[in-house]
Every structure is written in structure tokens, then in C-alpha cells.
Symmetry: C2
Subunit: 252 residues, 2 copies
DNA sequence: TGAATAGTGTCTTTCAGACAATATGCC
DNA sequence: GGCATATTGTCTGAAAGACACTATTCA
């Protein structure tokens, strides 16, 4: 499958088409079936894809092209396929939208208010993903009418309960960062300590003391100096670091 | 509905019957439907119900009376009904098994490995509940053949992936206890500091220093002295405390 | 040599953890 | 009075936070 950002609209519309179709089928079935009291909800996966661009923490949104919530922005998401685990389903959504694979993914939780989708009972499992912006193809970062990155602090009006999902994702990202060094996942393989500090500051939404930050990070023993330097502008170059190892990945 | 522990087996068997029935219906449908690639998974709620009895942290299990995993112990759980939120579904399971309502509930996460139930694709949303043992009717705590409380550290072999769900629940309970005073939910309205400390020790699975514990808890300002005392044995009575207010409850 | 960022150490405060003696009620 | 648990404060070590100057490169 081509990791084209232009197929996203189609994918999204496809999921919507299926949702409507399944809903109609369900309607027909439940009127003749004995299972009415246990009418089965539908299950989707929705993905909050975080990245850092232009010193901003951003999330990927897709503009809906069909009812309900037509022309509103929404999280990428879709149905879970047969034989697919939940993280695999999330990774597939992620790949379809960004063309990137092997990405840090973490489940947020299930969101299942009965009225969160007016068409049918849809329960969604939220995930968040951390993608380094250097892994994103330029065309994905282009502003098209249908897909765009939004600053976490300047979100447009969102479809369904996606506002709530993003807020929960952001909170959980902040909590996780206090315990594990996942911020690395938002940077290229090699990065400077200043770049890393900026990611922390964006996620925690406050500024940090340079000396205290470096002290804490370096004594954690998770960074390795590469011996290379990043020259940028007319000032002293910064040392480039790499992760030691064992970066955590998906969760069943 | 009678909060009888004896109806649980029936409820559990009912859910199993429905699962088999729905599965057969799904099979028929998918062979004639155009929706095969988006075959809809089934969704259940499973509940890890914690309580403290005889100075042990325990969870409620139900012995399965039908295939698969017949005669193995399993978590109480079942389908989500139309119009019911996820916490409401969990609260209903809880009430059916224990007769207790208005209980602290917290979502764990969704568990959705494709092969976790051999009959069909079933995604379950895990919850844990904290119930004070004084709210449990005596008959629920009786040992029957079908329902029983098990020490968290001495669990029998469990059906499906319920071992994993319980482990995740226990970890999350421990993590939550570091941030919020939910241990109160496992005690009666009034309790002594020693009783509270024992709950912390059970959940964190280590012994705590009495003076440090009391210092930390009391300076949190969440406890109120009732002025009453608990006399027990031939020694100095202990002061009874109550929660200040705002005990957190369900989560959408 | 001036501009711009990289890189570094000390002091203070705060919080967690170790530790033991007195108080009170019942038998 | 003896037993059993309740109740209370100090000291120490570790970690977090405040804080300012020197180093290096390039224009």
C-alpha cells in the first residue's frame, strides 16, 4: 500500500461507509433476531498521533467528508480487522495516515458512551502514537484540505468525543513521561540535549532549568554520546546523543 | 433483581449462551454478507472486584460451568447492553455478583488479542472495583462451589486471559494508590489508622513504618477524626477516622 | 570581537525513610 | 500491675529546585 496522504480521505470515507452499511445490516438483523437485548456494539480504534514540528506539540487530524460531523476535524481511526490485535489495528491506521511504521504506541483506554456516535453504538479504543517529524514524508506534512497537524493548544472543534480522547491522551503522555523516557520517540535517532529538553517542555507545558534537566537526564544513564556534533548558526555546536537501548514499544 | 450470589451461575451461563448464539448468527451472516472483511468483534466488560477479608487482598472469581474453559475460574463479566455506558455495564456485573452498588470503579484498559476467546473475536474492557467487605452480604462471602474470593497471591488457574487482566488491575491499583487515597474504598465508613495502613500494605505488598505512614496520611488533610473510638481486645482503643469528602468515583 | 548557544557546579529546600519511647485501656 | 496496641518526633540521606558564569563557534 502506498503511504500516500491522499488516500486518507478515501480510507476515512470507507470506514464511514462501512459503519453506515453495518448499521443498516444490524437494524435489519435485530428486527428479526432473538438477540435484540444483546445488540452488539461496533468497535473501532482511534489514534492520537503526536509529533513535534516548529517547536510545537502537534496532533494529526482528518477533516470528515461525510455525515455525521461533516467538515469537522476528527482523529484517524477505523474498524479492527479479523485476526488483528488492538495495537496492530492502531499501527495500521497510523501507517495509512502517515506511511510510518514501527512507532511507539500506547493504549489510552476505551471510550464507550452510548451516544458518542449518532449512527450506532460504537466503542472506540484510543491509542496515542509518538512519531519523529523527520520520519514523516514531506507530503504528509503539507497542508491539504483534508489532513493537517494541529497544535495541541489550538485545536479546532472536533467531531464526536475526540476532544476528550485527545485530552486524555495528552494527560497520559505527560504522566508516562514522568516515569519513562518516551520523549526520545519524538526525536530523530541523534539529537542534542537542548532538543530533548524542548520536547519535555512542550509535553509538560512549562519551562525547565537547563542544568537541572541535563543533570537528571545524564545521570539516568540512558543516553550515549555519539561523538558527533550539530552545527547550527554561528555559535558553539552541540553534542549529539543517542538512546542507550531498550526503547519500549507496543502494549497488547 | 435479587442480589443473590446463586443467580450468578445462571447469569454467567446466560452470557456464554448468548456468546455461542451470537457467534452462530455471525457465522451465518458473514457467509452471505458483504461485510466479511469488517466482521464485527463482540465486546464485553470484565470486572476485577477487590476486597479485603481476613487481612488479605482478595478478588472475586466465578467457576465456569460451560465450555470453553469449563470448570476453570474466571472474572465476572458480560455483554454491554444498549444505552449503557461502560462503567454502568461494569457496575451491573458488580451488582449481579455481589448485590452492592455505588462502588468505586476504574477502567483498566481494553484487552483484545484475537485468540483470547476460542469461540469468537471478543474484546473486553477491564474494570476494577473496590468493595468494603462490610458491604458484602454474608451469603456472597460463603464458599459455594461456583463463586469465591481468592487471595491475589494465591490465584487458581484462570480462564482466557483473566490472569493477565488481574495482574494489570493489581498494578494499576498500586499505581493509583500512590496518587489518590482510594484505599479508603476498601474500608467501612469509619476506620482506624492501623486498618488503613494494613490496606496500603496489602496493596503495595510490603510493610510500612507506622510513624511515617501516619505522618503522610494525616498531613494530607483528607481524614477527619470522628471522635469515636474502636475498642478491641484488652488494650488502648484506636481513634476512628472518616474521609473528608470528594471520594472519586466512576470514570466514563 | 561580538553574537549566539553549549556546557558546567553549588547551595538550599523538601521529602522519604530509619528509628524508640510513652500513653491508655482492659483484664 | 501486666499485656497489648495507640500515639507521637527527630535525625539522616536523597532528590528536586534555584541560581550564573565560562566555552566555543562563526560572521
Amino acid at each position: 500500500m502506498a503511504p500516500s496522504s491522499l488516500s486518507q480521505t478515501a480510507a476515512q470515507a470507507g470506514a464511514d461507509d462501512f459503519l453506515t452499511q453495518i448499521y443498516q445490516e444490524k437494524e435489519r438483523a435485530s428486527s428479526t433476531s432473538s438477540l435484540r437485548t444483546y445488540e452488539t456494539p461496533l468497535v473501532t480504534v482511534d489514534c492520537v498521533i503526536f509529533t513535534v514540528q516548529q517547536s510545537r506539540l502537534k496532533a494529526l487530524l482528518i477533516k470528515r467528508s461525510s455525515e455525521p460531523c461533516i467538515h469537522q476535524w476528527a482523529l484517524p481511526g477505523g474498524f479492527i480487522q479479523v485476526g488483528e490485535t488492538l495495537p496492530e489495528a492502531a499501527a495500521r491506521q497510523l501507517f495509512d495516515e502517515t506511511g510510518v511504521s514501527n512507532v511507539y504506541l500506547q493504549q489510552i483506554r476505551a471510550f464507550g458512551s452510548p451516544d458518542r456516535d449518532p449512527r450506532a453504538r460504537v466503542i472506540t479504543i484510543g491509542f496515542f502514537a509518538l512519531v519523529s517529524s523527520n520520519r514523516l514524508a514531506p507530503k504528509t506534512t503539507e497542508t491539504t484540505e483534508d489532513v493537517d497537524w494541529f497544535c495541541i493548544n489550538e485545536l479546532p472543534e472536533l467531531a464526536f468525543d475526540h476532544q476528550k480522547i485527545i485530552e486524555t491522551a495528552h494527560t497520559q503522555l505527560r504522566d508516562t513521561l514522568e516515569e519513562t523516557p518516551i520523549a526520545f520517540q519524538l526525536l530523530p535517532d541523534m539529537f542534542t540535549l537542548t532538543e530533548l529538553q524542548k520536547v519535555y517542555e512542550l509535553i509538560e507545558n512549562k519551562s525547565l532549568d537547563k542544568r537541572n534537566f541535563r543533570k537528571k537526564i545524564l545521570q539516568g544513564g540512558l543516553l550515549v554520546e555519539t561523538g558527533q556534533y550539530k552545527k547550527e548558526g554561528r555559535h558553539r555546536p552541540a553534542s549529539l546523543y543517542r538512546f542507550a537501548s531498550g526503547m519500549p514499544t507496543e502494549e497488547a
